[in-house]
Symmetry: D2
Subunit: 305 residues, 4 copies
């Protein structure tokens, strides 16, 4: 059985006005997700703004998530650091804090080859007890996990699964086909807008940033796909696509990064889940006019009255 399947949102990290983690809001986010029926939680991913938080804060975020979740679902934690030894050090802290698996990218800032990336994951695997999930996110890391890299690591057991945020669904499909005979391997898409297609080719789940805003929508989409109700699944996916248009509202005034996470936080504030829409410095928060446009989208997609 795969370790994870279903809807596993990358949990947004809310801040207070002093730019510290707002744990009260964070608890509300977790309950909001679990009440909606999500199947797991992914803390400290890119959507969680993981690279903005120091190691002590990262550990505290994990501990808080573990406690608030109380075993209701499994949790995996991103361990995002540029190189092997740093990943191992942070991953041991995450493991000690009680996560069920860690999510690890290829090295970044430095330049590595696919064979070196394979070694990277092997070293990480050897140093840990919890399973390792490979995180393919070239837009942040600068390197693609090639099909052969992922499959080599999966076949030898160095990775238990894959989170694919590469946007290369052709490559993703070949990985799924290559690993189809292994009942334990799992692969999840990081896409918000091509989930029905990804599940249709055998993906085991979805890790949608937008799931912070509308977890029920993604759970519904998952259930419809599981039930084989393709027409209804497509309709639900298209509603979520219209909702996802929020990530363009502040462009080009802000960066793409701020535009996406900033939109999620702004929507969650409108829905009463978190208190501010702030992001860590130097990311620029959405302004009042942009927030109003997001409310319009929330109303049009049935999330706000």
């Amino acid at each position: 059985m795969p370790l994870f399947k279903g809807v596993v949102p990358p949990v947004v990290t809310p801040l207070n006005e002093r730019f510290e983690v707002d744990y009260v809001s964070f608890s509300r986010v977790i309950d909001h997700l679990l009440d909606a029926g999500v199947h797991g939680l992914f803390v400290l991913g890119s959507t969680s703004e993981v690279v903005f938080h120091d190691e002590a804060t990262r550990v505290k975020i994990i501990e808080h998530a573990v406690e608030q979740t109380g075993g209701r679902v499994s949790i995996f934690a991103g361990v995002i650091a540029p190189t092997t030894e740093c990943v191992i050090e942070h991953a041991r802290n995450a493991q000690a804090a009680g996560v069920d698996a860690v999510v690890v990218t290829a090295p970044f800032y430095t330049r590595t080859s696919q064979p070196e990336i394979i070694d990277h994951f092997r070293y990480v695997r050897e140093a840990l007890d919890v399973p390792v999930i490979a995180y393919d996110i070239p837009v942040c890391v600068g390197t693609k996990l090639e099909r052969a890299t992922t499959v080599t690591l999966a076949r030898e057991g160095a990775i238990a699964g894959l989170k694919d945020s590469s946007g290369d669904d052709g490559n993703f499909r070949y990985v799924l086909m290559d690993m189809a005979a292994d009942p334990n391997f799992f692969a999840m898409t990081g896409s918000e807008i091509l989930v029905d297609g990804a599940l249709g080719m055998g993906a085991h789940g979805v890790v949608p940033g937008l799931g912070n805003v509308d977890p029920r929508g993604y759970v519904r989409l998952w259930d419809l796909c599981q039930a084989g109700d393709i027409a209804a699944a497509r309709a639900e996916q298209e509603r979520l696509c219209r909702l996802f248009e929020m990530v363009r509202v502040s462009l080009p005034r802000t960066s793409t990064g701020s535009a996406g996470i900033g939109a999620f936080k702004t929507a969650m504030r409108s829905l009463g889940i978190i208190d501010t829409n702030l992001m860590p410095r130097p990311q620029r928060a959405l302004n009042g006019e942009e927030a109003a446009r997001i409310d319009t989208i929330l109303r049009a997609t049935g999330l706000l009255e």
Copy 2:
């Protein structure tokens, strides 16, 4: 007067067989550079494999460099971390350890805009006492420091200088022209092979990774350019270009990253400066055959008999 000028090599960080920093070799590297007459040292840059070292090691590297240098030249230290607060935290440690300036990149892993990058440098500047040098290295960071970004920051005093490893010498020239009236601003090229051209358009110095192997060559090149002996400068630069061919010896067996720093370390081992050519995991060291080809290059360029 500019804070730095001349030849300021990014100091290689030698390792022992246990992949720990070999401080005995490190001392030899520093003396090797200072004996050759370099004008400053840049520790914890990309060539120093900074992102492979944890914070405690980084501080120790700085302290060792400061002590070994003993005030003979000024030292700047790379503070390479993905986001603003992490940079500030590390930069304060570097400052406390006695560096004369810190070198800071745009945020990485996350995606930021030029206005957000400007804010990033402002926040870093406000938090520190030592000068900040902007480090433009899109091949690692994924973002270019645009001309207007650099010039805005320089004019308001948020940065004291620029280290340009972008490969975009046209943009570099415009920055130099925009800042020509400011006697304090300085800009250094990170190129090994276009130094005469960069100095010819007004650059204040060079930060050559290859300077670890042949610091005398770069000092000679600098002196010839200062003296206006263009023909001799070109000849010396071309000899250094032939020496620089070492960075292709292990391609495509290793990554570009390993091929470059690995070649420098291998050459330095041949020259008796450091004990191993190892790089931190997962980087692949050059093998015996590749080392022999590097020796051939060292002999052809007069560094080895």
Copy 3:
């Protein structure tokens, strides 16, 4: 009703040993496709190696295709030229030769903006009587047709449809959603390996280069998707994905371009449809060993005994 729907292969252009178009083989290709039940033909696309043929040859290819098809299905023709006036001139020839629509890219070699691309299609539209289909193929053209560009052109009637070979299925989905209310607009994917997903989000057809090798497979896939038999469609798509692996057989000995079309031609030669696997100069044909590996793939996927 959309002008085109279903399976519309981009027809391979076979050559004889003198590198001239082999019209006998070409007729066999067309019959091979029509006998398999394809719903239209796309001549002079990228897979047809259109840019290797001069204008006189292009016209002759169209005329031959029109005659051989004899009205059994509709035909659209690629009009691939760098700039507006050249496209118009060639498109008029294609129109005179009897095609049902022309397929036009953004300008290439030169650099244009999205507003200039919109004007380009408007000028082409004004100059012709036949419908214009926009061809989004950034890997050849260097520019992406942005969603707003395509939708603007579609809404004002400048284009009748879209052939999307961009690999950006998220953007493709938004175009489909934006145009869903228009019963005449159609959008077809150029992907060989994500067809079930594309049809599942509302695409009106597929233009698969691999359809030259196995047109029955793509017709079957289309029929299964139309019938809503998702499981069988996925199985057929996965068989076609395994067949598509042929495009990697000659890498990196040849370019990606030669590896793909060269593989199709080699497979078609093995299947007795065309006489040579040659491509126009300077493309390198697959060699005997590579052909043998392609035969293995053909046998494994049921196309060769």
Copy 4:
């Protein structure tokens, strides 16, 4: 002796209000360049908007240039077509029209490998009597001519020289070093703003689009570099850099392509050399406000009173 050296501007192709070539203005452009002392002419390059003109017009442009030049300097002509046979066909026309050499790029639209590119140039070489100059312009073609490709072709005599518009001056320098022993090979930079540096590393000339606006400036820069007056050369180059800022005036309203050539045409109109600033469809001409800003630049750099 190299076939070409010195300043060889890529000659702008002026249009009349009906978007036809304005040969009266074209004659004035040629005289304007020759009167300034340029050492050769490059017609039908990217700056000449070559890909917008059909074959008959291209031939007429060459014939007009040959006649107007009357042997005062040598002329080379761009033969810009996507693939080998098309290049050969056009190149024969150019040869027949009397050019002294042709300038040829790697194939475009299609995807080729470096070995295929080498074959491409060999086939072109075999089909012609006039010398072939390789044109490295990845921003238009999508492929870089690698150092080994250029040097292989140069050593076997398939190409007589190189025009480098790649922006990769490191690679350019290595080509110059590799070919330094061959007195016939020549390499020219396509840069407007790094000419002193390029000549300083041994380039044989410059092909500056901006040379249409200020040919005397580039001739002066060439003369100063030849004379070894580095300080005066730098000052002149910096004046030309300030003049070159005109290419940003219409951004982002127009494309980069239109912004550059459009600025040159607008400036030449202000200087009374050509009648309109029009470019072929769909390129957007600079408007009145932008023209006024260009006049300001012309005045600031001493070209307009």
